[in-house]
């Protein structure tokens, strides 16, 4: 099926050489732990900005947003317009002064400065566990995709290696490369490679979108070939039953925009670490805003391939009869059953036991939306540029892993090892610990990836647990930065209560058409949601609300910290950052307004 030639391999190889080359070139600049963990706090804003967005542009994003575009249409763009842009502006303008200005080396460390030791320990432990598992999930997904696309099949065949080895080969290859460049060049290396990958994704996916649009007859052709609600981001959003995602505006705005979006973009050290690596306060504040500019346009790059895949005609087995010099030639192009049963280029899911397509209870084929974007690559790209597209896909997996791994080694070294295991070591010692934490983190990720083969549900379960932990987080940071009365006891109690509320909510509610279990309702079913998305967003709202209320109550009941200790950590007690000697339109605020206007413009376009 997949015919890779030496030109494809050459491009892939070239990428690996440059990735490792950057790691080696940076090794000599890694003199102190600050160089290794914080990139010396000396990078220009544009590099950090592109890395900020690229750290998030991992597998889940590229494959997942394509899948979601195929499943829900342009409504997926809400993950950008509501779920990311406002939060990115908020973190840049309002929160970065405290993250960067406090000189904290990690997000958990900021929590220790603002609240207390136990809040930091709770956050550091849960964060460290999550990053390791996330990068393991990324690895697993990559190896599965490589298997499904038969990328290495030809290579294994020529080498005479057993085909079962492809999974292990993919995992080991990605692990070794990511390990090597982080071990050598630390966060700088991860950030540089994230920027490289950012451009590679554009290089690989832009021609795909252009070819796809041309094939389907441009924007109007696309409109004509998909159901009308697929082409509108906002229409029907007032009520859950009138839009493809099954979510109404309140749950969407509050749940996705305010709680989940902000929870991710404003508190996750995975992305914040890149902003904290920039060279001064003003750059740090500009980083999320610079990142927001390409983010506004990413729906075209990652969602559109999925939508195009659904809109294109479904391949069928065809027989073409030629008459070559009086000789009748029958050309039969056989299409597998699961492809014929699919919609557009999205195939039906195959039951791994029987090898037959799977159907829903209603007799409709169950579609394998995750294959939407990869199938587009295979459909449109000839050998040569296909190598570039596959390299971009691999790069996105690896950079997702790398962000997790650097976040893990920093939090492990500073917040766990230096704080609780070995205090007062030399700087050299902590840098060595960081390097070995990288090795340990990657080994644990590999274990997660293998565990995922044996336990089918492990990925869903892990992501569910992460959502319980992450949902309430934003309330803690919001209160911490903008309410000087919030105390450590309050924050700790609020986090525990928020996570418990998320779990309880999940145990008591169920999306319609789902069985109690992993999808919810494992205690008893009190409420049915129209979709799992609605359940997810409302769960986040409950977790956030509980955390907020409990933090406020417990804070008021406990002793406040003296105000002198909170200077630089709380908004009302921090002097305004000195105005830089820039013209007004170069200030972060002006950039923020420009980004906001662009985002609004695009939403009107997609209406």
């Amino acid at each position: 099926m997949l015919n890779l030639t030496s030109v494809d391999w050459l491009i892939m190889l070239l990428y690996f050489v440059f990735v490792l080359g950057i790691g080696f070139a940076l090794k000599r600049y890694m003199k102190t732990s600050k160089d290794f963990f914080q990139a010396g706090r000396a990078l220009p804003a544009w590099i950090c900005g592109l890395a900020f967005i690229s750290a998030n542009l991992g597998a889940q994003e590229v494959i997942g947003m394509g899948a979601s575009g195929a499943k829900y249409g342009l409504e997926t763009a809400h993950f950008y317009g509501i779920g990311a842009i406002p939060a990115m502006i908020f973190v840049g303008i309002f929160m970065m002064p405290f993250y960067y200005g406090s000189k904290a080396r990690s997000v958990p460390e900021f929590l220790r400065m603002r609240f207390d030791e136990k809040t930091r320990a709770l956050n550091a432990c849960s964060f460290a566990v999550m990053t390791v598992f996330s990068s393991g999930i990324s690895m697993y997904a990559m190896a599965r995709l490589i298997q499904a696309l038969h990328v290495f099949d030809g290579l294994f065949y020529t080498m005479g290696w057993p085909q079962q080895g492809i999974f292990t080969f993919s995992i080991v290859l990605s692990a070794v490369i990511v390990l090597a460049y982080i071990f050598l060049g630390g966060l700088t290396s991860a950030i540089y490679n994230e920027v490289l990958q950012f451009f590679l994704i554009i290089a690989g996916f832009l021609p795909l979108v252009l070819l796809g649009l041309r094939n389907i007859g441009g924007w109007s052709g696309l409109k004509a070939s998909v159901p009308v609600q697929y082409m509108h981001e906002w229409r029907g959003v007032a009520h859950a039953s009138t839009n493809p995602m099954g979510i109404e505006i309140v749950g969407l705005g509050m749940g996705l925009g305010f709680v989940l979006g902000s929870g991710y973009w404003c508190t996750d050290f995975l992305v914040i670490q890149t902003a904290m690596a920039s060279k001064n306060m003003e750059s740090a504040r500009r980083v999320p805003l610079i990142a927001a500019v390409p983010k506004i346009f990413f729906p075209f790059l990652v969602i559109l391939p999925g939508l195009l895949a659904i809109g294109l005609p479904t391949p069928h087995t065809t027989t073409v009869v030629h008459n070559v010099n009086g000789m009748i030639v029958r050309d039969t192009n056989v299409v597998p059953q699961n492809v014929e049963e699919g919609r557009g280029l999205v195939p039906a899911k195959i039951n791994p036991v029987t090898g037959k397509p799977m159907y829903t209870a209603g007799g409709q084929p169950l579609l394998d939306y995750d294959m939407a974007t990869p199938n587009m690559l295979l459909h449109f790209f000839p050998t040569g540029i296909l190598g570039l597209g596959l390299t971009a896909l691999l790069a996105s997996f690896m950079s997702g892993m790398a962000g997790n791994v650097t976040a893990f080694n920093t939090v492990f070294t500073y917040d766990l090892y230096q704080s609780y295991i070995h205090k007062g070591g030399s700087d050299r010692h902590y840098m060595a610990v960081g390097r070995w934490a990288t090795v340990g983190g990657i080994l644990l990720s590999i274990c997660t990836a293998y565990a995922a083969i044996n336990f089918n549900n492990i990925m869903d379960t892990l992501q569910l647990v992460f959502s319980f932990v992450n949902a309430p987080l934003f309330a803690t940071f919001l209160l911490g930065m903008f309410w000087k009365r919030a105390t450590g006891h309050g924050a700790f109690a609020g986090l525990i209560a928020g996570t418990s509320a998320a779990m309880l909510h999940h145990g008591l509610t169920l999306p319609i058409e789902a069985r109690p279990g992993i999808h919810g309702g494992w205690l008893t079913v009190l409420h049915h949601y129209p979709s799992d998305m609605a359940q997810n967003f409302w769960g986040a709202i409950f977790a956030f609300g509980t955390n907020f209320v409990v933090t406020v109550i417990v804070s008021l009941a406990t002793k406040a910290r003296p105000e002198s200790e909170l200077v630089g950590l709380v908004h009302s007690l921090t002097p305004k950052p000195p105005k830089a000697h820039n013209v007004w339109w170069k200030s972060p605020e002006a950039l923020a307004i420009a980004v906001l206007l662009m985002a609004i413009g695009l939403n009107i376009f997609f209406y």
């Binding site: 030109v7 050459l10 491009i11 070239l14 990428y15 440059f18 080359g21 950057i22 070139a25 940076l26 600049y29 990139a39 010396g40 706090r41 000396a42 990078l43 590099i47 960067y100 200005g101 000189k103 700088t188 540089y192 920027v195 490289l196 451009f199 290089a203 021609p207 070819l211 041309r214 094939n215 060279k279 001064n280 306060m281 003003e282 750059s283 459909h379 449109f380 790209f381 000839p382 050998t383 040569g384 540029i385 570039l388 000195p578 830089a580 000697h581 820039n582």
Partner: protein
């Protein structure tokens, strides 16, 4: 940081662009372009990447030359740079 990212990045895209353009030229009119609607995707996209790579490379080289002629820029964590 004294390694300007634009140099290795520009170099990589220049090379990828060159490979794709050359391959596109060598496979002109080949049946592999049936997939890409008859467009020689390798040649044209290779050209785009080549131009992108070379401009990155030039920007990186220029700023490195400028940095070499100036005293090292102080990295200040609270104040932003003057001018610029």
């Amino acid at each position: 940081m004294s390694l300007d990212l634009r140099i290795p990045m520009g170099l990589m895209f220049t090379l990828v662009g060159m490979i794709l353009t050359a391959f596109g030229l060598a496979t002109r009119g080949s049946s592999i372009y049936a997939a890409s609607l008859g467009i020689n995707a390798n040649f044209w996209w290779g050209l785009v990447l080549f131009v992108f790579g070379v401009s990155m490379l030039m920007l990186g080289r220029r700023s490195q030359k400028r940095l070499a002629s100036l005293p090292p820029e102080p990295v200040d964590e609270t104040r932003s740079r003057l001018g610029h």
